[in-house]
Symmetry: C2
DNA sequence: TGCTCATATGAATAAGTATTCAGATAATGG
DNA sequence: CCATTATCTGAATACTTATTCATATGAGCA
């Protein structure tokens, strides 16, 4: 038995809160990542939560592309693409290489690449289960 | 050589758009998942993009918890937790089991579990690189 | 030098989203 | 039953975010 009992109270931010399984609450709280780390992770997920940004990143999985090609691939205006790319660049998810007046963007974050791979794998998997959706655009 | 040339135009939604590498634009567009699938994936990422929801899901990685324990673990009001859980439930990311007046929630989506695992692995990895942040809440 | 094109930016609007509070529902114990 | 407790819900507020349009920057080219 622990110093906390089930069906008791737990101290949260100084004040006490009623809980059902106090031991597990304490244990899970101890395993919870730091607030700052969770905020960072949430930010990354947030950047992936927009269909247009997601399209941009999927397009970049195979290698770099310039802004106008990215706009064409993702079906958005070049201005919208540029805004989106700026956001992604600010979070170091993509990097830009300038060649004359063109800017070539590429995926810079292997962690994001993994998340994209998981998402795409899931999409393909559901395609197999539910082939009523056409996989191409 | 393809029917499209580099530095040409590509048809997008009926109207033509200037591109630099027309072949790649066409190729990438063909590999792009369906809009609906991308929207679904973006939705899932969006659900993971809030720190409080992320905390809820991380807490559920080890098994089910009731609403008041989830509120305690994640440091939010029970009302806020309930709202968040409702959203997650609506998207079938968690499921609820009722036992009397308590509701026990659990992670229901293995795909989301994978995404959480990737995110947590990344957090732990950066912890090792930058130990200035304390891993516990 | 002046013109055009690729990209970037700012500001404004519009749309979406989180959080809170008050109250509703429904189950338990007395 | 009545009071209490756990959870849920709706509506209001405040906040964040996407999208657009107009314009700026800056490179190549005539």
């Amino acid at each position: 038995m622990n110093k906390y009992s089930d069906n008791g109270v737990v101290a949260v931010d100084g004040c006490t809160v009623k809980v059902v399984d106090a031991d597990r609450v304490v244990a899970v709280r101890e395993r919870m990542p730091a607030a700052e780390d969770l905020a960072d992770a949430a930010d990354v997920f947030g950047l992936l939560s927009d269909p247009n940004r997601l399209r941009l990143l999927v397009a970049l999985l195979d290698g770099e592309l310039c802004v106008c090609d990215l706009a064409a691939v993702t079906g958005q205006s070049e201005s919208a693409a540029s805004h989106a790319l700026r956001l992604l660049r600010a979070h170091r998810i993509v990097t830009a290489r300038r060649a004359g007046r063109m800017a070539y963007y590429r995926l810079a974050d292997p962690h994001v690449r993994m998340l994209l791979d998981v998402a795409l794998a899931h999409i393909e998997h559901t395609e197999l289960l539910h082939p009523e959706r056409d996989g191409t655009a």
